[in-house]
């Protein structure tokens, strides 16, 4: 197969060639970067929270009226929840991973340190807390119920014992000997002793730079007259429990408002709705872009076939096989696409550099461009196949007709 005649034919319709090449180049650059953004978002959405997400849900209860005894109601509510059929565990919480709201603080190794050693999310819960969250204790021990102290949001105090995540333990004590060590949650405050380590518990904030640092404090901590409860249902019974709970709570104490019940799966969906939307939008743009480019190639190739019908007939009359004709158009497309792809590869890296500069996004991994080459080569070959087959069916007799 000689490339030269194809090349010299192409040189006679430079503009069309440049247009298709430009289209391929832009497509490659956009598709590579968009795909990379999608994969980043999918990775983000895939991060484990450390919780049992399938069986858990949470909700708030806000009391009203003067003399509403928030601590008393909290205790009777916990008893009620734990007795409900289908409930495996229940606890009161300040926040849950991925929920977007909560309390964070600095944690230090020395009193009055100028800057804290690490940042951490604070989860206030009781002795059933770890069990209800479904986080896995990997070292040390759980809280004892007598260690749980009643506090309030205006009177948070400092817990004497805490349980931290593996990531936080490693940040504070890289030697791996965090159990039994004392740390400072307040500059000059009393110390807190680390009694346990859980494998993982994310912070409530998806964009935080200390997403794996969390501390559990054994305390009941209502927010004004509001308490939040986290409930873990027996496997498969979450929705059933969620349906009945509002009524049961209202019956137990009518002078309060039960807030929206949200499963932790719902909390996750809401936390990542922006990432999901971005991935979907970019996906749609990629699909539309590939379709437009493919259709553009089909349109252009059809035009060339129609324009060269006579030449094709002549070639056939001079002995070229159908396969030769087919190969001619496939090769021609391959040449144009390749030229476009080379330009597009440069463009893809340039776009990536710009995104890095303007939006602090990470560098496009090198393999995206070669994979993009393969995909667009394939796309081009498939798109040109129809017109090329039509060309191969041009009868040699066409050469002898004058118009």
């Amino acid at each position: 197969m000689e490339i030269r005649p194809i090349f010299s034919a192409l040189m006679r319709s430079k503009v069309s060639m440049i247009l298709i090449g430009l289209q391929v180049a832009l497509t490659l650059a956009i598709v590579c970067n968009a795909l990379f953004i999608i994969s980043e978002r999918l990775d983000r959405m895939d991060r484990p929270s450390g919780m049992n997400e399938a069986d858990t849900f949470w909700f708030g209860s806000t009391g009203f009226g003067q003399g509403f005894d928030v601590n008393g109601v909290q205790q009777s509510d916990l008893q009620l929840l734990r007795r409900l059929p289908g409930v495996a565990a229940a606890t009161s919480v300040l926040s849950v991973p991925m929920s977007g709201g909560g309390w964070s603080t600095g944690i230090s190794l020395q009193p009055n340190q100028r800057t804290s050693t690490a940042s951490t999310a604070m989860y206030a819960t009781d002795a059933q807390g770890l069990d209800t969250y479904g986080v896995k204790l990997v070292a040390g021990r759980n809280f004892k119920q007598e260690e749980v102290v009643a506090r309030s949001i205006n009177d948070r105090g400092v817990p004497s014992v805490i349980i931290v995540t593996r990531a936080l333990a490693d940040a504070l004590f890289p030697g791996g000997d965090a159990i039994g060590k004392q740390v400072y949650l307040e500059n000059d405050g009393p110390t807190s002793t680390i009694i346990g380590i859980v494998e993982r518990a994310q912070t409530p904030w998806m964009g935080s730079d200390f997403i794996e640092n969390a501390t559990f404090s054994p305390s009941y901590m209502p927010y004004g007259t509001s308490t939040r409860f986290l409930v873990r249902a027996e496997p498969g019974r979450r929705d059933e429990v969620m349906k009945t709970i509002e009524q049961k709570m209202q019956e137990a104490n009518p002078s309060r408002i039960i807030g929206r019940l949200r499963s932790i799966e719902q909390v996750r969906r809401e936390a990542y709705s922006g990432d999901r939307a971005m991935a979907i939008i970019l996906g749609v743009v990629i699909a539309a872009l590939l379709a437009i480019t493919a259709l553009g190639i089909v349109g252009m190739a059809s035009f060339w076939v129609a324009q060269r019908t006579k030449q094709i007939g002549t070639r056939r009359a001079l002995g070229a096989t159908k396969f030769d004709i087919l190969r001619y158009f496939q090769t021609e497309n391959f040449i144009i696409t390749t030229l476009g792809l080379v330009a597009g590869g440069v463009l893809a890296y340039a776009l990536s550099l710009w995104l890095m500069h303007a939006y602090q996004s990470p560098r496009l991994p090198w393999y995206y461009v070669p994979v993009g080459f393969l995909c667009l080569w394939m796309l081009g070959q498939l798109a040109v196949l129809g017109p090329a087959l039509r060309a191969s069916r041009v009868p040699p007799a066409v050469a002898t007709r004058s118009v």
């Binding site: 007259t225 743009v285 539309a288 553009g296």
Partner: protein, 434 residues
């Protein structure tokens, strides 16, 4: 001649329906992608109160820790402390001023058919209404005296007035919240806010408040706000020490009617901070900011980087669609070389041929624009489904409809320029030979 060329164009488009459809759909898709994203970006970032956005300023004081800045870029904290907010309110050096935060309170309706519910309350001063100009349906704001007297009064939003009083004029009626009665002094009409620009700390597109209450009244409740609270030093225990603490949890806005007033207020703030330094507070270098509405919105990235990237991508996609259209038009016009030759031979000037083909491109652009408008509508519906909080910014207005059509026709004409120029250069003699 225009109508004749229009007819010619339409006929020529009908002759190659597939090629025509390809071009129209290509332009429509490109237009839809770019206009959908542009609309969202445009509405998100648009000035929410253009007639006075340069007069409203957001107060930032650098009360943060001597050991580290509040933000990595060295900018001061995004909110102020209770101490500073009340001190600035008391000084009253601006033309208008309002410190504010938000609070959630349980409402106990008198009507037994309405279940008790949680209500989001904006806690602020009377100047809030003069500064941000929400429209009133009944009554009006509370007055300055009521601000100082800790009056138990409320301004209701239209929605909550609908819920509690069936949309009636409820001025003078009472609303019970957490065991305390408040009397209604005003009811807002529908307040169409694209973004909640007066409080960006929990996202620019979070829900607006359902009620408004005097600041002094709300602080008596000793209940913490429901917005962000950041402390660089422990607030200690109890409500009083929280009020005295270095925790930032309030937004503070001032209205300054001229650049001279702005400069005056800036130096007043600097003096205030220098005085506070003598008391051992504000140990960081002087770093006060008074950004106006648009500067504050840009600083808080109201237009998210995702939306910017999507818009860039939308226009890159439009570019690809245009390159595609140029190629297809070129193919189409080249095929018509014979026709051009004939027209030229019969006396049509190049100019006339140029007009004819440009009109044909324009027809494609117009069709693409109309289809693109439809697709843009669908695209915005999709955006609203994907981002529920963007419902206020994902809608078409007349400017955007017009922009869409103009962009489509301009794009098609631009795409048609080169192919048309090529078509005009056809030598009649070469085409007419058999």
């Amino acid at each position: 001649m225009f109508t004749y060329y229009l007819q010619l164009g339409l006929r020529s488009l009908k002759r190659n329906p597939i090629l025509t459809a390809l071009m129209v759909v290509g332009i429509a898709l490109g237009i839809a992608a770019s206009m959908t994203t542009l609309t969202v970006m445009h509405l998100m970032g648009s000035d929410p109160i253009p007639w006075k956005s340069d007069k409203l300023h957001y107060v930032q004081l650098d009360s943060w820790s001597p050991d580290e800045p509040a933000n990595d870029d060295g900018s001061p904290p995004d909110q102020v402390t209770y101490r500073d907010a009340t001190a600035l309110m008391e000084a009253a050096k601006a033309d208008k001023q309002a410190a504010m935060f938000k609070l959630v309170l349980p409402v106990q309706p008198e009507n037994p058919e309405v279940k008790p519910f949680q209500s989001l309350v904006r806690v602020t001063y009377t100047d809030f209404f003069g500064m941000f100009e929400p429209p009133f349906q009944y009554g009006g704001p509370w007055d300055r005296k009521q601000d100082t007297e800790h009056a138990r009064v409320l301004v209701l939003s239209k929605d909550v007035n609908e819920k509690l009083f069936g949309g009636q004029d409820s001025v003078g009626k009472t609303v019970r919240m957490n065991g305390i009665d408040y009397s209604v002094v005003g009811v807002l009409d529908e307040w169409k806010l694209r973004s909640k620009y007066y409080d960006l700390t929990n996202g620019a597109f979070s829900d607006p408040e359902e009620m408004y209450m005097p600041f002094t009244t709300a602080v008596d409740l000793k209940q913490r706000g429901s917005g962000n609270n950041n402390c660089w030093r422990s607030p200690g225990n109890g409500w009083e020490s929280y009020l005295e603490s270095e925790c930032v949890w309030m937004q503070m806005w001032v209205q300054l009617d001229s650049p001279a007033r702005l400069a005056e207020y800036h130096s007043f703030l600097d003096n205030y901070v220098n005085e506070q330094k003598k008391l051992g507070r504000f140990q960081r270098p002087l770093n006060n900011r008074l950004l106006d509405v648009n500067q504050w919105m840009a600083d808080q990235r109201v237009v998210s980087s995702d939306v910017q990237v999507q818009t860039g991508l939308g226009f890159a996609f439009l570019a690809v669609c245009l390159v595609n259209t140029i190629g297809l038009l070129l193919a189409k016009f080249t095929r018509k070389a014979g026709e051009v030759g004939l027209r030229r031979a019969l006396g049509a000037s190049r100019r006339e041929v140029f007009k004819q083909f440009l009109i044909e491109s324009g027809v494609i652009g117009l069709s693409g624009g109309l289809l693109g408008l439809l697709l843009t509508g669908l695209g915005l519906l999709a955006i609203r489904a994907l981002y529920t909080e963007y419902r206020t910014v994902a809608s078409l207005d007349w400017t955007m409809v017009l922009t869409t059509i103009v962009l489509a026709v301009a794009s098609a004409l631009l795409a048609g320029l080169y192919p048309t120029w090529r078509a005009c250069r056809v030598q009649p003699a070469a085409q007419l030979k058999v």
